[in-house]
């Protein structure tokens, strides 16, 4: 039976046809090349699980050669960048709450006096440990530092202070997530990740589907105004978004025992602009995508950098400057800080505010583009 044989001519004909179709669907083709490239760049260059140059504040009440050496030693370790010198305890707490600094080093008043007496004074390191992976290496580095950093100052009669036990006692206070539980950081963050994924994909799909099936034309020939159609299509998904938020909050509390320190109602209010920002991205994609497959691909193209560059999976401060700059544009980056800030740090509106305007700005820009493009597709 000839017919049942594998026929190379027929086979190559089908291969050829697939290639022609692949080339015709420009967006899909671009995504097939673009997504691996994006992954290559993000994973290859942006991701770094050993973050260095973490912003650190030094509160030194002891102006001595030893404290200066310790600061110098911190700098030299390349893990700590001294960016602030706070003047009060209140300022320190604000810097940590807003996430301006990752660490605060306290050098107490009589540090050098006690050190010289061999009383092993305390050196206090306060860490924002919401993301355990962001601080782990740095804490290991400072521990190592403790044993050797003062050796060059401890000369002559002071030499006997060297070695073990260490000349001073390092006390580490890990704030917000003292037990270094990864879930405490990941589970609240998941809220932002899920909202990004669902809101963008679902909106882009819902609108593209309506156009693809021709029902949009029908709808627009009725007295329904374009704005009514658009907002009417979006509102159900906002509801879905809030259901997701509730699910994650419940899971955080009852399954993962994530501490919920701050105000849940504040979080619910601030979730709204974030949801709308993502919906706006979805609308914009729906105006570009020709079919539902393309809509999904575009959503993925946005989702991937959001996931990787926002600080959700990998410490934000471990990334090179350019990656952080991109991350700062993405609404997820700021929303993660808002969620973690409220749930883990107990932040109020004042501490959250610096992360609100980037979301608002993104929202306004995206909505403007989305609405403009949406109008163009009507004509």
């Amino acid at each position: 039976m000839k017919l049942h044989e594998f026929n190379w001519r027929r086979f190559w004909t089908i291969v050829g046809k697939e290639f022609i179709q692949m080339r015709r669907d420009r967006v899909t083709f671009a995504m097939m090349i673009g997504i691996p490239l994006l992954q290559l760049i993000l994973f290859g260059y942006a991701i770094n699980s050993d973050p260095k140059h973490l912003p650190t504040a030094v509160y030194s009440a002891d102006n001595s050669v030893f404290s200066r050496t310790i600061v110098w030693g911190l700098r030299n370790s390349s893990y700590f960048d001294i960016v602030r010198e706070p003047k009060s305890e209140a300022e320190i707490q604000r810097l940590l709450a807003q996430g301006t600094v990752q660490f605060v080093v306290h050098i107490p008043v009589d540090f050098s006096r006690k050190l010289l007496r061999g009383e092993r004074p305390d050196l206090l390191l306060e860490a924002d440990a919401t993301d355990p992976s962001a601080v782990g290496y740095a804490i290991a580095a400072i521990n190592l530092l403790t044993t050797t950093v003062l050796n060059r100052d401890l000369t002559g009669p002071l030499t006997n202070l060297r070695g073990s036990p260490t000349p001073f006692n390092l006390v580490v206070h890990q704030h917000y997530n003292p037990e270094n539980i990864t879930q405490n950081n990941i589970v609240p963050g998941l809220m932002g990740v899920m909202l990004t994924m669902t809101m963008i994909i679902i909106t882009a799909l819902a609108i593209t589907r309506e156009r693809e099936r021709g029902t949009m034309e029908n709808l627009l020939s009725t007295p329904a105004r374009p704005g009514e159609v658009m907002i009417g299509k979006i509102v159900p998904y906002i509801t879905v978004g809030y259901i997701q938020v509730f699910l994650i909050l419940l899971a955080s509390k009852f399954l993962f025992n994530v501490p919920i320190v701050g105000s849940v109602s504040l979080l619910l209010v601030l979730t709204f602009p974030f949801i709308v920002a993502n919906l706006a991205v979805g609308i914009t994609f729906s105006t570009i995508a020709k079919n539902q497959l393309q809509a999904v691909q575009m959503a993925f193209f946005f989702f991937l950098p959001s996931l990787l560059l926002s600080g959700y999976m990998f410490p934000f401060r471990g990334m090179p400057g350019w990656a952080q700059d991109i991350g700062e544009i993405l609404p997820l980056t700021h929303f993660l800080r808002v969620v973690r800030g409220i749930l883990l740090k107990g932040n109020g509106f004042a501490e959250i505010a610096p992360d609100l305007w980037p979301i608002a700005l993104f929202l306004v820009m995206m909505l403007a583009i989305g609405i403009k493009r949406y109008r163009q597709t009507l004509d």
């Binding site: 099936r213 021709g214 029902t215 034309e217 029908n218 709808l219 627009l220 020939s221 009725t222 007295p223 329904a224 009507l378 004509d379």
Partner: protein
């Protein structure tokens, strides 16, 4: 003609996409209760014209009134009073028949919505199948559902874009029966079609090609205005005869119709002279009336020379 009797009264309607003129300077006057056929080859601008009438697209040129409302500034009012049935089935396949009808009735704010939906289901004969998903209906039923949905708000003007494409002959006939009844009740219908038998069931016609209006009037008027002469030849080996005649001066179309050939052209004398040599012997010839199809193909061929 009393101008208030004109449901559609537009002049110079023009639409450009980029530098391509899709609809070029087209006028249209349609009277109340009239079934107006809108014909033309694929891509001739019919759908674009309909979209401009119902306010989905803004015309680049031209003006006029539809249902007494300005097509440029009062598209909102126009939309309330027309029913537009798109070429593709454009209701929700994942909604049931009843849900689709109810949805449309709500959008139009039909008074007594429940009763209107009920009546619509009854007329469709779908009362028992109301909970069936629209996506599971056959082509003919989908078309009937779409028509019912377009009529639920009792529009004064019905725009139908190739409503019978892919529908079987019986369903098509029923469909036209209904259109005629609706028109008799005062509804005005503008319908695009490719079928000549449907064109002949319209009160009046317009024919456009490449965005240009080529002919309009009743079927008789259009045929007469085309000034086409057609000969019918019967006999042995017609394909060979067609080969010989095609391309002779004055011969514009040679079309096989079953066991006969139709040969037509606008210059009657030249056509007669060209087919003369074969008018003896085995072939039987007679002059017949030109059909609408012959007229349209002739118009299209001429238009191709003029516009492209």
């Amino acid at each position: 003609m009393n101008p208030s009797d004109l449901v559609i009264d537009v002049q110079g309607i023009t639409k450009r996409f980029g530098n391509r003129t899709v609809v070029n300077n087209i006028p249209m006057q349609v009277r109340r209760g009239e079934i107006y056929g809108f014909l033309g080859p694929n891509g001739s601008g019919k759908t674009t014209f309909l979209r401009m009438l119902c306010g989905l697209l803004k015309p680049d040129g031209g003006s006029g009134r539809c249902l007494g409302f300005d097509i440029r500034s009062e598209s909102g009012e126009i939309k309330k009073n027309i029913g537009y049935m798109t070429q593709r089935f454009s209701f929700y396949e994942d909604l049931t028949i009843e849900e689709n009808l109810d949805f449309i009735a709500r959008i139009y704010g039909v008074p007594g919505r429940k009763a209107a939906v009920e009546k619509s289901l009854e007329q469709l004969g779908m009362t028992a199948r109301r909970s069936q998903l629209a996506g599971t209906l056959s082509g003919g039923w989908k078309q009937r559902l779409a028509l019912s949905a377009c009529l639920i708000h009792e529009p004064q003007l019905l725009l139908l874009d190739e409503p019978t494409a892919g529908v079987d002959p019986k369903a098509r006939r029923d469909f036209w029966e209904e259109i005629h009844q609706l028109a008799a009740g005062g509804l005005t219908v503008l319908i695009t079609t490719h079928y000549m038998d449907e064109a002949e069931r319209c009160h009046r016609l317009a024919y456009i090609a490449y965005g240009n209006l080529l002919a309009r009037g009743s079927v008789e008027e259009v045929v007469k205005a085309a000034g086409l002469t057609t000969w019918e030849a019967a006999g042995p080996d017609l394909p060979a005869l067609a080969e010989k005649i095609r391309g002779k001066p004055g011969v514009e179309q040679v079309v096989a119709f079953g066991t006969t050939l139709h040969i037509s052209g606008r210059d009657a004398a030249q056509l007669r002279a060209s087919v003369g040599p074969w008018m003896t012997g085995a072939y039987r010839w007679q002059q017949i009336e030109s059909g609408l199809e012959d007229v349209f193909i002739s118009l299209m061929e001429t238009a191709k020379d003029n516009f492209s």
